[in-house]
């Protein structure tokens, strides 16, 4: 057996889908090919690691509330979403923590930076820790040139109205860079005549650039 054939049959080996003859042939190859032994060990280790991932517990009371919401006659739009902040950070390219304090201040937060690669979407997550609930706060975004919010192609300025709850509030920004930029992303949060601005420096990595 050649290494290329081993690579083709690796999945069957992992899944125990080989008949005795095929298995013997693979075992013989593994016995004499250290590269394929490593490949096999790596594949097993990755598989095992994925299997061992244990889901965090659901929100306390989730089952009761989910059943109750499902059987309650409400319009879908009015249905509150389950939104504990959890797990998402693991997929985030960046999480910025911002303490809003009891009242929104007017000064800007210090600039932080995030790196993007051209044409590769990344989710940037901003965490707002609010000391009290805020109804109908307005979130505005001004995107730098060559950076888009996925799904809002060509729009540089966007805004939303939302409620902030006491504690952690997470804003997800799926961003994609279409070219280099020297500008900053500016996110502002305003409520009741006060506002707070967050500036985010976008550093764009171009994988096709010579020397990278």
């Amino acid at each position: 057996m050649e290494c290329s054939e081993f690579a083709l049959r690796l999945d069957d080996l992992l899944d125990g889908r080989l008949h005795a003859l095929g298995r013997k042939s693979i075992e013989e190859h593994l016995g004499r090919c250290p590269d394929c032994r490593n490949r096999h060990a790596h594949a097993l280790a990755v598989l095992e690691s994925v299997r061992k991932l244990t889901p965090p517990a659901a929100h306390p009371g989730f089952i009761d509330q989910a059943l109750s919401r499902a059987t309650r006659p409400v319009a879908p739009a009015a249905r509150p979403k389950w939104r504990p902040v959890l797990g998402m950070a693991l997929a985030a390219s960046l999480v910025l923590g911002v303490a809003l304090g009891v009242f929104l201040a007017t000064q800007s937060e210090p600039v932080q930076a995030v790196a993007l690669t051209i044409d590769r979407p990344e989710t940037v997550r901003l965490m707002f820790n609010s000391a009290k609930p805020l109804k109908a706060a307005t979130v505005s975004l001004v995107l730098p040139e060559n950076v888009e919010l996925v799904g809002f192609n060509g729009r540089r300025e966007l805004s939303w109205q939302t409620d902030l709850r006491e504690g952690g509030n997470l804003m997800q920004l799926p961003l994609v860079a279409r070219g280099v930029t020297k500008q900053e992303l500016v996110a502002s949060l305003s409520h009741g005549g006060s506002s707070k601005m967050f500036r985010l420096k976008i550093e764009v990595d171009n994988p096709s650039r010579p020397g990278m």
Binding site: H59, K81, W82, T162
Partner: protein
């Protein structure tokens, strides 16, 4: 390994599996024992507690008006897994069409994304290493497309055979094999050997 099961599709012709449960069972009786499983699977699809809970919630809302159909499903769990899978794929497609910026909140005591960032309180080195490895695996899974991620979750983790998935997901075996192959290949490319071989050495 879950047993091989027959699935009766909603609206399909009458089958020997009809009326598998007493009609007096209500929606809650049927679904409550399945929710933990659905949540676990949803988390494996999404990698996020919030998204997993939303997904399960959406499925329950869709199923409630179809309680009478649920009574006719003999092996409810795999049938529900398929409904969850379809909902997951739909929701990912919908999100990619209309990406959402969402402000979400967490109550006290819930895990907080900031907690996942390294801090001075990370404690023993192995704890930090374990957290780092978990994060790396989750990030790698995030790079799979929804169909690939689902086949990894259902086959590699939950233990459904490809033949079972062929029936459950109504997807040709060859397509499932190809998805699984590409998903595993991508995971291996994204998760280099070193952290894993180190773990193996510790075990050995």
């Amino acid at each position: 390994m879950p047993p091989v099961f027959p699935i009766r599709r909603a609206g399909a012709a009458a089958s020997p599996y009809r009326r598998a449960r007493p009609a007096e069972l209500n929606f809650e009786d049927l679904l409550r024992p399945q929710i933990e499983y659905l949540y676990r699977l949803a988390w494996r699809f999404t990698g996020s507690v919030a998204d997993a809970e939303d997904l399960v919630q959406d499925v329950l809302i869709k199923l409630f008006p179809r309680t009478h159909e649920l009574l006719e499903i003999e092996r409810l769990r795999p049938w529900l897994a398929r409904v969850l899978y379809n909902q997951y794929v739909d929701s990912v497609r919908q999100r990619s069409r209309s990406p959402i910026v969402e402000l979400v909140s967490g109550a006290e005591g819930e895990d907080n994304p900031l907690d996942a960032l390294p801090t001075a309180k990370d404690g023993p080195e192995e704890n930090a290493e374990r957290t780092g490895q978990r994060e790396r695996i989750l990030r790698a899974l995030d790079r799979l497309n929804p169909e690939q991620r689902a086949v990894v979750a259902m086959h590699d983790v939950e233990g459904y055979s490809l033949e079972e998935l062929e029936t459950m997901l109504e997807t040709p075996l060859g397509t499932l094999k190809s998805r699984l192959h590409r998903a595993r290949q991508r995971l291996r490319a994204l998760l280099p050997m070193e952290p894993f071989s180190a773990g193996e050495r510790v075990k050995g």
